[in-house]
Amino acid sequence: MGEPILEVKDLKVHFPTPDGVVKAVDGLTFTVHRGETFGIVGESGSGKSVTCLTALGLIKRESAQISGEVLFEGHDLLKLSNEDLRPIRGKGLSMIFQDPFACLHPFYRVGDQIIEAIQCHDSCDKNEAKNRTIGLLDAVGIPQPDDRIRDYPHQFSGGMRQRAMIAMALAHNPSLLIADEPTTALDVTVQAQILELIDHIKQEFNIGVILITHDLGVVADVAQSVMVMYAGRAVEYGSRDEVFSGPLHPYTWGLLESIPNIDRKGGRLVPIEGAPPSLIRVPTGCAFNPRCPHRFDPCDKDRPELLDRGGGHPEACHLRIEDKKRLWNEREAGRVEVAS
C-alpha cells in the first residue's frame, strides 16, 4: 500500500429538511492509500454516495451542513470554493456513478463528451483530444473505438456506457477513482467485467480506488480495505482479510450472510431483518440495535464508538470481544449445518 491520498476526518453531512435534519453522514473517518481499492459497503441509504459526492463538492453547499475535513493532495476539499474544486474534479479525482444509462448526456455523442472532459483540463486541439479519446475507449475495451466515438449514448449497451464513463474518468490519469456502485445497474456477467476493468486500471496506473457497493461479495474479490457503513457511520473498518475472516460487528455478519453463493462455508442466504432507519430519527444508542439479534443492555442507550476492542481492527459494537468471536462462530456453524 502506498502513501495516503485521501483522508476523511470526522465528516458530517446533515441536510436540514422540513421533516427534520437528515444525518446522511455523521462522523466518518477513513483513509484511502495509493494502490488500494477501498470498499465502502452498506445497505442503500447508509450515506455512501453522499460521502463521496461531498468530497467532490457535488452536494449543494447551501442545502447541507457539512463539517470535518477531506484532505486530498494537500487541500481540504471542504474548504475549496467551487471554482477551486473544478481543476481537481475529473483530473486528480474522478468519479463514476451507479446508473450508466442516466450518466451520459443523451444529446451529445459519447466521443464528444470525452473530448470535452479532456479539453476542460488540457488545452489541446480537438484532433489530439479525439485521438486520446479513441485511445481511452480502446483501453477500456470498447471495440472499434474510432467508429464508436461518433455514437450517441443510446447506441451503447449499459456495460459499454459504464466503460465509456470509466474512459472519461481516466482522461487525466487521476490519483483517485471513486466508483459509486458501478455495477449495480448491470447484468451479472457484465458486472464482473467492469470490476475486472477497474481492478486492472488500479494496478496498471497504481491509483487509489474507492469502490462503493451494497454487496460485500463485490468487495471480497477486489478490495484491500473495507469500511462497513450503517446509518451514516462506520460500524467496522479493516483490511479485507480482517473483515472477511474475523468480522466483529453483527451488521457485518448480516451482510456476509446475505451474500448469494458465497463460496466460503455454507450456503444459507439470510437477509438482515427489518430495514435501515430513517436518518432523521436514528435510534439512540447503536443505530443497528433494533435489528440486532444480539443486542443487550447498553445497546439502545450508549452509542458505541468505532474503536479496536481487542479484535485487531476498529468496530462499533458493545459486545465483548470473546462474545463476538463465539457468536460469529456459532452463526457460521449454524449456517453450515443448515446447508449440509
Partner: protein
Amino acid sequence: MTQYLIRRTLWSITMLIAVTALVFVIFFLLPGAAGNAGSGKYPPVAVRIAGKQPSPATIEAIIDRLGLDRPVHEQFFSYLGNAAQGDLGYSYQTEEPVTQAVLRRLPPTIGLALGASVLWLLIGCTIGVISALKRRTVWDRASMIGALAGVSMPVFWIGLMAVFFFDSRLQIYDTGSYVPFTSNPLQWLSVMWLPWIVLALTYAAIYSRMVRGNMLEVGGEDYIRTARAKGLTERSVIRHQLRSALTPVVTMYGLDLGLLLGGAIITENIFNIPGIGSYTVTAIAQQNLPVILGTTVIASFFIIFSNLIVDVFYAILDPRVTYS
C-alpha cells in the same frame, strides 16, 4: 426519411379532407344548420343572403346560384376538386374568390404571429432560465408571480385594457390603423407593437414556467452531475442543461405558431387587424360557408404542417428519436 415524409404528407392531406368533411357536416347536416332546410322550405343561409322579406323567386335564384340544391356529397366532392386546384370558391357575401381573400389576409396574420412569437420566445426563455439558475431568489419569486398573473389574465381582457390605456388614455396608440408592411413599414411597426405584446404576454408566461421547470428537472439529472464531476466550468454545465431543457420548447413553439398562423382571432379583432382570424369571425357571423371553409382549411393546414415540421425537427434535435 423520404418515405417518412411521403407517408406523413399523405396523412396530412387525409386530415385536411376530414376537417373539410366535418365542416360540411356542421354546415349542411346538423339539425338547424345554416345549409340545412330541415322542415322549412329553404336553407336559412339562402334566406339570409336574400335580404329583408325576400320573394321566393329571389331565394330560389340564390339557391341556384350557390348550388345549395345539389346533394351535399356532390357539393363536397366538387369543393375538394376545386380546392385541389387552388380554388376555394367564392364568398357568398362579396363574391370575391376566397383564395384571393385568404392570401390577402395572410400577411397581417403572419406578421402578428411571427412578431409575437419571437417576443414571447425571447422573454419566456430568458425569464425561465434565469429563474431556474437563481432559484428561490427574489428574482425567481417575482418572475413566477408575474408568470402566474400572465397565465391567469385572458387575452381579451389584456387586449381591451391595452387599447383603453394606450389608445384612449395615453393616446400613444392608434387602434385600427393597420397598413401592410410593404406600403409603410414604420406605420406597420407602430400598429403591430401593441398586439405583439398583448398576444405574447400569455405565451411568455407559459413558456417561462415551462422553461424554468425543464431547467430544474434537467439540473437534477445524473448527466449534469457527470458534467460537473468531470470538471466542466459552470458555463459549460449550463450549456448541457440548456440543450436538454430547451429542446421541448422547440416542439411547443412550432405547435403554438402553427395554431396562430390560422388566425389570432381575439387579438386581430380587438386591434382591427385584417387577418385570417377577423375574417373567420365575420364569415361565421354571416354564415358564409366558402369563407368559413377556406379559413378552416388554411388554419388546419398550418396546424397539420407545423406538426410535421416539429416532428422532423425533433428527430434532428434528439438523436434517440428516429423516423418511423
